[in-house]
Amino acid sequence: MPGLELIEIYVFVLAGFVGFFTITRVPALLHTPLMSATNAISAISLVGSLVMAGADRGALPTILGFIAVTSATINVVGGFIITDRMLKMFKRADRGGARK
């Protein structure tokens, strides 16, 4: 396992800026979908869980990993589905190309 590196702080800070610049432009109506979307994305901890569940590091890590995979998967699946459901409401059938 690699140690903590200084450059990762750059990554964190820059990603924070990206998040900030993006979120401030999301219109208020989309705040609920946004919350649900970031919620789904935060299930990225699945990535850590997968390693834990599959690395065969012993019973405890595997069990904890399994629970973590399950929890995170609930989040991913449910989160993206519901975000999509919400966003579907903003599609107007007769809207066509009227709006840019």
Partner: protein, 462 residues
């Protein structure tokens, strides 16, 4: 660098880019759906990338977890009604936090219960489990309050402040100790436990009305926990996704508390002193639903049929030109706008006609009461601009009222009623208007001209 590493890193980089593009797409409603599909794709890419990790040697638990999670997650996504959205998101945060926390704990345990943990990694792990733990319980509390399993009013007790501060101090001390010397499993697990308790004590004293802000903040914490996981295991996609979440949750909670006319600090800490409920109440104790120009604007921007009901307040505000502007925008967006002119709207016969003619609104769009009353049920929004008596249901039901028997405009049949006025003051007849307290009525307070200008501005943004 082995090709495997390159593949994994490329997958993570791609996933990160897809997440960013996905979030970015939310700035344009018409592209949002597309964008979120990109984000979902990013998630898939990240998962696939991870699965080739050389550390992974057994897949059965992974597959089991993915299957069980999908089986639980799918109905949560498909069947939860839209109205239960906030609590669903809250519980979902809990699941995310569970994953992050467990990974942290397992990692610590796996690394010889801290013996093989370097200081920087310990710092990362510490943040991971602390944020994770408090998000687990905090989200659960929020869920409970919204689902009305718990009392939605702020729950406070004497000395609460002291207890909270005390717990926080202890957790901080443990954390500092662990960083200095990571190999103290007792301290570590105690810290996790404290985090769990702290989550409860953070959310319990906050009222149900403020929950959206709290949920958003918990979103931020969940994101930070993910990012910390990334630091701990040196995984960039975790750092990036976590940072995106952390920033977005944080900003969102600030925006939302501002929209509720509360300071952010007030929502968070004011709670300790039991802040007043956000929504206004009348003498009869009915709550009024205030709406922000942003939210009203989006409803108008996406409405198919909007019926404008002008009244004396439009005249007072001299807002006729702004009405035309707004209507033009809605029509540009593909909606239809009609005007319902009540016979006694305003203060002189034909008052509304004079003003709307000045604003060059075509006569064909002005509808008499009898003509339009059947249309309201098809309207997505009835936009009441400074009218009051002419939309007061008391005229139908309340024999004692001075306007009893006067036919009124059936605005309440519209899917949504938005009322523009400056206050809850009554109109000419001097009587309260029950319409303003209905479930599907939202009040946009302020001078009609200013409010309309804001609506126009916001629709252009949308």
């Amino acid at each position: 660098m082995s090709p495997r590493t390159v593949f994994i890193e490329a997958a993570y980089l791609l996933a990160s880019i897809l997440f960013i593009l996905g979030l970015r797409s939310l700035t344009i409603p018409d592209r949002a759906r597309r964008g979120m599909q990109l984000a979902a794709l990013g998630m898939l890419v990240a998962i696939v990338g991870t699965l080739v990790n050389h550390e992974i040697v057994r897949y059965e638990w992974i597959i089991a977890g993915l299957v069980v999670g999908s089986v639980i997650g799918y109905p949560l996504g498909v069947y939860v009604p839209m109205t239960a959205m906030p609590q669903r998101i809250a519980i979902s945060h809990m699941f995310g936090a569970v994953a992050a926390t467990l990974v942290g704990v397992a990692e610590y345990w796996h690394l010889g219960n801290g013996a093989e943990v370097s200081r920087p990694v310990m710092a990362a792990l510490g943040f991971e489990v602390l944020f994770g733990a408090l998000t687990i319980t905090g989200s659960f509390m929020a869920f409970g309050k919204l689902q009305e399993l718990l009392p939605s009013r702020p729950v406070t007790f004497k000395g609460q402040n002291l207890v909270s501060v005390g717990m926080f101090a202890v957790a901080a001390a443990l954390f500092a100790w662990l960083i200095a010397d990571p190999a103290h499993p007792g301290a570590f697990y105690a810290m996790v436990a404290l985090g769990l308790v702290f989550g409860v004590s953070l959310v319990l004293p906050i009222g149900g009305a403020d929950m959206p802000v709290v949920i958003s903040l918990l979103n931020s914490y969940a994101g930070l926990a993910s990012a910390a996981t990334g630091f701990a295991i040196g995984n960039n996609v975790l750092i990036i996704a976590g940072a995106l979440d952390g920033a977005s949750g944080f900003i969102l909670s600030i925006i939302m508390s501002r929209a509720m006319n509360r300071s952010f600090a007030n929502v968070l800490f004011g709670a300790f002193g039991a802040a007043p409920e956000a929504s206004q109440k009348t003498a009869q104790g009915l709550p009024v639903h205030a709406i922000t120009p942003e939210d009203a604007a989006i409803q108008l921007a996406y409405a198919r049929l909007v019926i404008v009901v002008p009244g004396y307040g439009m005249a007072v505000a001299q807002a006729q030109h702004q009405v035309r502007e707004l209507a033009a925008l809605i029509e540009k967006n593909g909606g239809t706008v009609l005007y319902a002119i009540h016979p006694v709207a305003g203060r002189m016969p034909g008052h509304m006609n004079v003003l709307l003619a000045e604003a060059d609104i075509p006569y064909e769009k002005l509808k008499e009461m009898d003509e339009i009353n059947d249309e309201f049920k098809n309207a997505d929004v009835a936009l009441v601009i400074g009218a009051n008596d002419v939309v007061n249901p008391a005229a139908r039901t309340d024999k004692g009222s001075p306007i009893y028997g006067m036919p009124i405009l059936n605005v309440d049949e519209a899917k949504q009623v938005i009322v523009l006025k400056r206050s809850m003051n009554p109109g000419f007849a001097g009587i309260e208007n029950e319409l303003f307290y209905r479930e599907n009525t939202a009040m946009l307070f302020g001078d009609a001209k200013a409010s309309l200008a804001k609506l126009v501005h916001e629709i252009k943004q949308a």
